[in-house]
């Protein structure tokens, strides 16, 4: 209103203008009427308790109308994609357009509702800050154990075990731990309550261990074959199809046990059926470094030539090969969201890659030694092991990790490590045992009980197991982009070109024609054959004619541009003209 006055557009009654003018000038002296507390607050005493009632003025109501607007950044997190471009359906099909619009509105609503639930999350992420002048890297595990509450302090512990070097694995809900020692020691326990499930010596070397879909079953890659043990340590299966295995991975949504072997074979085994999905040689030699991408269930393998290859059970060739290091790759890990991949090599580098757009290196860090292990946490902390030292970095993706966030010196060379899901714990397995380190800010504080629940009851586990088997994703849906199944199957340009090429190089069709029987000597074998040939040739000729026509129209489209340049009739003396330089096409 004040603006209107200044611009001389006060077309309203003079009274009104005066009023607004007064407001503008007096605002700094008096509180406006609606801000006075007496006008909208009503206090009553009932049974000795004052009951206060607030009534909102019309202006306030307008200001706070509707629900709170969701932060666009949060919406971005829960976004299900930008949706279909409405224009594509054109103006003609208004019904379809309307349907699409309605559907999209629903999707947006779902996104918004999901984003709103963020306020309901109860737990907060871990934090560690050091006093000024000191670094968090100087804080030792002992300091942390002294500083935190007693239950958390109990989560950091050390186990001295004689059968090392060890391999270890947490369950997806972060509750149970399995340890496998090279000298045959196999132990599984609930590491939070420290309750031992089983402890046996398999009397063979163990190369890797892995949980299956629940803590009831685990797989161990032993000297010759892969064995499956149950919670009591009973050997349930001996998988002789999987021999000389070095690395085990379990795809929980596909129920596939994936192995890589000494002879360079990759295999996928469906554990619900006990059947092998596929097994094939990679022809890349011994595969010791393998991890799964939890976003798309593709296996990533590291090789001595410095390459990282990605494999699915649907293709016997690598779906992707990337040269990551000039020296042998030593460790790979993909973060739980599947966005980033970390690789380390003997060239002492740790490189962070965009896992969805491989080939794009995001960051690289130089380490004092080549790191033998690398692991992402749920909150994208990166742990790296250098001999017997474990270093944890923060903000590796944004490039702010010039100094390590935490360091720890283990009493033996670190052979395996993993961040515990939904906990601020890093488990490290060494030559001499196992220790769990408290790394504040590592884990996702709020779990989803329908996906993985650390507090799962027995009946809950049974229920979840049945539901998980029912939604077992078919192995043929494993692709680099896991959303392929939900997308419109638009043929690529290459496919279109191939289809056209097929049209051009036609094969004449085989015509199956049996001549009818005719009377009066016309159905002798020679006559019949003649008739048959006639029909056959006629039809084939027609087909080819049509194909040729089609080809001509196709070719005329493509050759039009070339012929236009040479429209002028050539003259006799043209040959003495300087030759035109052929312009090189620059392609971007």
């Amino acid at each position: 209103m004040g603006k209107f006055n200044k611009m001389g557009r006060g077309g309203g009654s003079s009274n009104n203008n005066n009023n607004s003018h007064w407001n503008q000038q007096q605002q700094h002296k008096f509180k406006p009427k609606w801000m006075k507390p007496e006008s909208n607050v009503k206090r009553e005493e009932k049974d000795g308790v004052t009951v206060t009632e607030y009534t909102l003025s019309r202006r306030q109501l307008k200001r706070y109308a509707g629900r709170k607007v969701v932060d666009p950044k949060l919406l971005q997190k829960y976004s299900k994609g930008e949706g279909v471009v409405q224009k594509r359906y054109g103006r003609k099909n208004s019904i379809l357009r309307h349907k699409m619009k309605k559907k999209e509105e629903k999707i947006h609503q779902a996104e918004e509702e999901a984003a709103r639930t963020e306020t309901l999350l109860t737990e907060s992420s871990g934090v560690l800050e050091a006093e000024e002048g000191t670094y968090t890297a100087h804080i030792t595990q002992k300091d942390i154990r002294n500083a935190v509450d007693i239950t958390t302090a109990a989560k950091g512990f050390d186990l001295q075990l004689p059968f090392g070097p060890y391999k270890m694995r947490f369950t997806p809900n972060g509750r149970h731990l399995v340890l496998g020692g090279r000298k045959g020691h196999l132990a599984s326990f609930d590491w939070v309550t420290k309750k031992l499930h089983t402890e046996i010596n398999v009397m063979e070397s163990i190369h890797d261990v892995c949980w299956l879909h629940t803590e009831q079953m685990m797989a161990a890659a032993q000297k010759e074959w892969v064995y499956i043990y149950d919670n009591q340590g009973t050997e349930i299966h001996c998988l002789k199809k999987l021999d000389r295995v070095l690395k085990l991975e379990f795809l929980p949504y596909h129920f596939l046990l994936c192995t890589s072997s000494e002879s360079g074979f990759l295999s996928w085994l469906d554990i619900t059926l006990g059947k092998e999905v596929i097994q094939f040689p990679t022809r890349k030699g011994r595969i010791e470094i393998m991890c799964q991408n939890p976003y798309n269930a593709v296996l990533c393998c590291g090789h001595a030539k410095g390459t990282v290859t990605m494999w699915t059970p649907n293709k016997k060739e690598a779906v992707m090969t990337v040269l990551c290091h000039p020296r042998p790759v030593k460790a790979i890990d993909v973060d739980p969201s599947g966005r980033y991949m970390a690789t380390t090599g003997l060239d002492r580098m740790v490189k962070i890659w965009d896992a969805r757009n491989m080939g794009e290196q995001l960051q690289s860090y130089l380490l004092p030694h080549g790191a033998m292990n690398v692991k992402f946490s749920q909150k994208n902390l990166l742990a790296v092991s250098l001999g017997n030292v474990v270093e944890v970095f923060k903000d590796v993706i944004s490039g702010g990790a010039s100094k390590s966030y935490m360091t720890h010196k283990a009493d033996g060379i670190v052979t395996d490590m993993q961040f515990c899901p939904y906990e601020d714990i890093l488990g490290i397995a060494t030559y001499k045992g196992y220790s769990s380190l408290i790394i504040p800010g590592a884990g996702e504080p709020n779990f989803d009980a329908l996906e993985s629940n650390p507090y799962m009851s027995l009946s809950g586990r049974r229920e979840a197991e049945v539901k998980a088997v029912l939604t077992k994703v078919p192995s043929n849906l494993i692709t680099l982009d896991p959303f392929t199944i939900g997308q419109v199957d638009v043929p690529t340009l290459q496919e279109k070109v191939d289809a056209k090429a097929k049209l051009i190089h036609v094969k004449k069709p085989e015509i199956d024609f049996t001549p009818r029987y005719r009377m009066k000597g016309k159905s002798g074998s020679a006559q019949k054959f003649k008739r048959k040939q006639k029909v056959k040739e006629g039809q084939q000729r027609e087909y080819l004619k049509a194909a040729m026509e089609q080809r001509d129209t196709l070719l005329s489209d493509t050759t039009d541009n070339n012929t236009k340049q040479e429209d002028k009739p050539s003259e006799v003396l043209d040959r003495f003209k300087p030759k035109k330089k052929v312009q090189k096409k620059t392609e971007f």
Binding site: G126, V127, E131, D143, I144, V148, Y253, P454, G486
Partner: protein, 476 residues
């Protein structure tokens, strides 16, 4: 100590575990997409499961009501949801309670076949039409004598009642409009275009439930005729085959669906009756003549009875049937009825039975718990979303058919192919344009007959059986 601030995830189990065994389990949710990978693939698998479960639970047959003779007519009770009337070929009229599957009332209504049973819209009575040239009106109280009886001089094969007025139309050798209060017909609708009277016998007649004055009929000379009681405006469409039964879409007043002798069902848009776009959809699938048709009260679906011993359910917008029901002992189906609560389909067949089917083959009967309902809705949505995937479509469309239908289908396919081939050959070897391409929709429609028939009006004082007859004969 150089720690300034420290916070480590430390959950209190009491907040995550139920307090007592009688409590429900606590379920913490976090909708962060990173914690829910493979969303699309898992949804696809769920859709696949939903389709498979649908097939597992597809058991549509509920029960049968046994008669002593072939069932020829079936009708809704005018006021009670769970009751139906049936009529047999030996003239019996029966009242059944569907819930208990028990007969409640029975009467020898006619001498000969009961052609048609129609409930009066006032909810107190119903009409039956018999092979004995009589129309009877019965009270809903259990009396064995009709309230009213109309005697006709010609054969009557069908009846339809006006939705609001006390009028009804009968078909047969003549189309007559009757007033419930009088004993003689008010008007007759006849036409001059067909020479032979017996040829012009009408097989079916139906009042529109929405445009209450409009009604349609189908006759032995393959005509589909539209009437209006106010204007006597008539539009007559000649088809290539006879129309056995008619039904109006209760939700879209302009859609008229006709069950034809040529195995197909045709949906017409009566607004476009004059032009080419009158046929909205041709519903294929039966392998023999379609005898009866009835719409679901939602107007989205209809069911058809056929001589091929099966009934089919069609969606109004789709050319092929959604489902087909058949039984080992079910013989030719004469009449079909979709219940008013949209849950059941009743079919009367010549094996002396009325069969009760579920309208949705895999639907669970009884009251659904809220979670069951939510699961059902979710599965429906998944099927919508992924239904076009080849694997889902194959499973969802698979039906086990009896051998005779399977073989007949194959045979019809071969015949159709042969005809198409022949036509194509003819087109190749003829002058361009000499063999025009006629879309499948228009093939069975011969065309609109332009003549507006002369209608002989009856004034109430002019009523007299003999006179009418004379007039009629002159007209014909």
């Amino acid at each position: 100590m150089s720690i300034k601030k420290i916070n480590v995830i430390s959950r209190n189990p009491d907040q995550y575990l139920r307090e007592t065994k009688r409590d429900i389990h606590k379920v913490q949710r976090n909708y962060d997409p990173d914690l829910h990978p493979f969303e699309a693939a898992r949804e696809y698998k769920l859709a696949l499961n939903a389709v498979k479960l649908e097939k597992v639970f597809a058991k549509p047959f509920i029960g049968s009501l046994t008669h002593t003779e072939e069932v020829s007519a079936i009708s809704r009770h005018p006021s009670r949801l769970s009751c139906i009337f049936t009529g047999t070929v030996d003239g019996e009229v029966l009242l059944w309670d569907i819930a208990t599957q028990k007969r409640q009332w029975q009467v020898q209504g006619h001498n000969g076949k009961v052609w048609c049973i129609v409930g009066a819209p006032d909810g107190n009575s119903f009409f039956t039409v018999g092979n004995d040239k009589t129309i009877k009106r019965w009270s809903l109280e259990d009396s064995d004598l009709p309230i009213d009886t109309w005697l006709c001089d010609t054969m009557v094969t069908g009846l339809t009642h006006h939705r609001y007025r006390q009028e009804f139309v009968t078909c047969g050798q003549r189309m007559l409009l009757w007033d419930v209060g009088t004993k003689a017909p008010k008007t007759s609708y006849d036409w001059t275009t067909t020479g032979d009277r017996s040829d012009a016998t009408t097989t079916c007649v139906k009042f529109s439930p929405v445009q209450a004055d409009v009604f349609a009929s189908g006759d032995h000379s393959n005509n589909l005729v539209l009437y209006d009681t106010r204007a006597r405006e008539v539009k007559k469409l000649k088809m290539s085959m006879r129309i056995n039964s008619l039904a109006w879409n209760p939700m879209e007043a302009f859609i008229l669906t006709a069950a034809s002798e040529d195995y197909n069902v045709y949906s017409f848009d009566i607004r476009n009756f004059d032009n080419k776009s009158r046929v909205v959809c041709v519903h294929e699938g039966h392998t023999s003549a379609v005898t009866d048709i009835d719409y679901a009260p939602t107007g989205r679906e209809f069911c058809t009875a056929s001589f091929d011993k099966s009934i089919r359910i069609f969606r109004t917008t789709e050319a092929h049937s959604r489902d087909v029901y058949h039984g080992k002992r079910m013989f030719r189906v004469n009449c079909v009825l979709w219940s008013t609560d949209n849950k059941y389909i009743l079919s009367g067949s010549s094996d002396h039975n009325v069969r009760i089917w579920k309208a949705q083959a895999s639907e669970k009967m009884g009251i659904l718990a809220p979670r069951e309902k939510a699961a059902k809705n979710y599965n429906e949505e998944l099927k919508n979303k992924f239904g076009h995937f080849p694997e889902l479509r194959r499973i969802g469309h698979h039906r086990h058919l009896p051998k005779h239908i399977y073989n007949a289908k194959k045979e019809h396919r071969a015949i159709k192919d042969a005809q198409a081939r022949k036509e194509a050959n003819r087109r190749i070897h003829s002058r361009p344009g000499a063999v025009p391409f006629i879309p499948f929709k228009h093939r069975s429609v011969v065309g609109l007959q332009d003549e507006i028939p002369s209608t002989s009006g009856f004034s109430p004082d002019q009523s007299g059986g003999g006179d009418e007859d004379d007039e009629e004969e002159d007209d014909m």
